[in-house]
Amino acid sequence: MQITQEMSLIEKLHILTDAAKYDVACTSSGVDRGGNGKSMGNCLAPGVCHSFSSDGRCISLLKILFTNECIFNCSYCLNNCNNDVKRASFTPEEICTLTMEFYRRNYIEGLFLSSGILISPNYTMDLIYQTLYRLRHVHHFNGYIHVKAIPGADPVLVEQTGFLADRMSINLELPTSESLHRLAPYKSRKTILKPMRQIQNRIQQNKYALLEQNRGTLCRTVGHETGEVSSARNPQAPRFVPAGQSTQMIIGATPENDFQVMSVAEGLYQNFGLKRVFYSAFVNVTNNTNLPMLPQGPPLLREHRLYQADWLLRYYHFQVSELLSEERPDFNIYLDPKCDWALRHLECFPVEINQAEYRTLLRVPGIGYKSAQRILQARKHTALTFADLKKIGVVLKRALYFITCGGKMMYRTKLEEDYICRNLIGDRSQIPREIRQSSYQQLSLFDLGHV
């Protein structure tokens, strides 16, 4: 702590950004909040990217740690107490100033504050709370805030902090409790899932309370239709984590297969009401012998397939058990999971674009959920042709094997697994350009052992 007092702000920012960068979540999405005319800031539900760093990832929030001091020893983490790195801590006021000044210059959409564990989980959580309190009530910041809940912190502190934040997250870190025990001995499933459950319950209660309150306001305004304005000006109850909670799992540090990872994610969506699960391809920063060395670089293609599958769960009404099984526990690395599923269910195809219902359209490779909605709207007025589908945004080179328009397929083609599979794999867009072109991935495509 002695040293950090003399450190310049820019040096602290450098250290505490560097230490925060492996957290993959950086979205500012999930809440719409207009400005209030009195303070600085508003929020847009789709989120806004302000820049892109040289790894191609979106920069939306000022993503920093409060401190990189830590009493824990998670072996995958640079900040663990056995590691010899330069340590630094911000003061709450420094974080507020950086956030306000970056925000008004439109560098950022808000703050993402995480932290190593200084002295104790409670001590750290309280510092985070103090910072958010200042930011909201002294600096009147009305923009987006994503904050980490510290595992093991007092539920009261977690709750108070949640009323100041838009999103909260607690990282699950690893898919199974054995792995967690091995690599992060001071953490446990219990200290992670308990606050996650608490946040979930509180979000629910808060929603009901707001509903009740709105109903109250409504009755009163109706009762006073001619009446004074004052009765309608009912102060809004504070909102608790309105953009929901998220979590992150590290992929490739431990031996879990895709089936295990996706089943955990599905459980989190269904039982904990999470908004997002993030997957972070493991980067070996500590050179710890307990951990894989990954000379080919982080498993980016595997991470990409997991994100695609995650989309299928959240937007396309798929279940993990439809995509993977004990016998077939990993995704085909060469195909996106939806194409892969379609190939193994050719009995469901082809589907007629002008008749199929929404959920059926969603399952066609090359038709995204937006295109599916546009198809439903557009076909009310006219029978759609392949040319129309193209305008709507359907990727025909993928979809053509699986659809008919007015009873006809686009070309004469065989509805046969090997044939379609060969054609789909021949399409280079199966592996996204950013991964094909990333110099670190060239070897690992064929070395991941997932095929």
Binding site: G35, I59, V283
Partner: protein
């Protein structure tokens, strides 16, 4: 066929639509065309120039807002504000004509707010594509725009958008930064949105450019730029370095207006010493 020639602006096209209705030639016998699109005249067509008439334009916009709702209305305006390259323009339906025929179709529906769902209709589809391109650029700029603090505390941003997105941006920042004095300057169109703390913004033409304005930064400005650059460079994960992906997500044309991509000035990262 009667071809009504109108100016390339919201008022210009709305005036054209007003006249197309007022003249009662029948919509099937009437077309709108932008003056900038007319290279050759066709036989058997009568051409008329329609002057911009604000009062008529306002009547049209009131009707459209009432019948279509504000969302569809703003899509129509975004479509009109959209930029098209000359070659794209030659290949597709005239923009004024697409808006006009979309309006005609929409007003024939019981519920005009559904008009943009008819993507099978070529005019509607064209309006949809145009508005999407404006919307996308505006959404990019909500994030990529950079303010610098001038000596007098005013925040100043310079943009070079393809589409006419200034009003969309000014709306957003008026809501976000209500207490700041700021100027957003569209250097392509030489128009500025000027916002005074606590009030709404105004659009002003700046024919002589804004360079005189934006010369002197505040003392703090360079300090915060240095901090931002330190953050920008530290946040990248070296093991995932991928300039192609960066280029795909952040097209080069936006970069000259973003401080983190300036390479010539004294605040370049290379000159940053920790």
């Amino acid at each position: 066929m009667h071809i009504l020639i109108c100016e390339h602006s919201i008022d210009g096209i709305f005036s054209g639509i007003y006249e197309a209705y007022a003249r009662r030639y029948g919509h099937r016998n009437t077309e709108l065309a932008l003056s900038c699109n007319l290279n050759s005249y066709q036989l058997f067509c009568e051409y008329e120039e329609i002057p911009v008439a604000e009062a008529k334009s306002r009547k049209v916009s009131n009707t459209l807002r009432a019948r279509f709702g504000s969302e569809v209305y703003s899509h129509l305006c975004e479509a009109i504000s959209a930029y098209e390259s000359p070659s794209a323009r030659r290949r597709s339906i005239d923009k004024a004509e697409a808006v006009y025929k979309t309006v005609v179709l929409g007003l024939s529906l019981a519920d005009g707010s559904k008009i943009l769902d008819q993507l099978g209709n070529p005019y509607v589809n064209r309006v949809f594509q145009l508005s999407r391109s404006t919307f996308n650029e505006a959404h990019h700029l909500l994030g990529f725009l950079r303010f610098s603090e001038l000596e007098n505390g005013i925040l100043f941003a310079r943009i070079h958008p393809k589409n006419d997105v200034l009003a969309l941006l000014a709306d957003h920042f008026t809501d976000r930064l209500p207490l700041e004095n700021f100027i957003i300057y569209d250097q392509v169109r030489k128009i500025a949105a000027v916002h005074k703390s606590g009030s709404n913004y105004m659009l002003a033409e700046v024919p002589n450019g804004a360079d005189d304005y934006a010369k002197h930064y505040s003392d703090q400005e360079l300090e915060y730029r240095r901090l931002w650059l330190a953050f920008f460079h530290s946040i990248a994960v070296e093991a995932r370095k991928n300039l192609h992906l960066q280029g795909q997500n952040l097209p080069k044309r936006f970069r000259p207006d973003m401080v983190e991509f300036h390479s010539d000035s004294s605040d370049h990262p290379a000159s940053l010493k920790l």
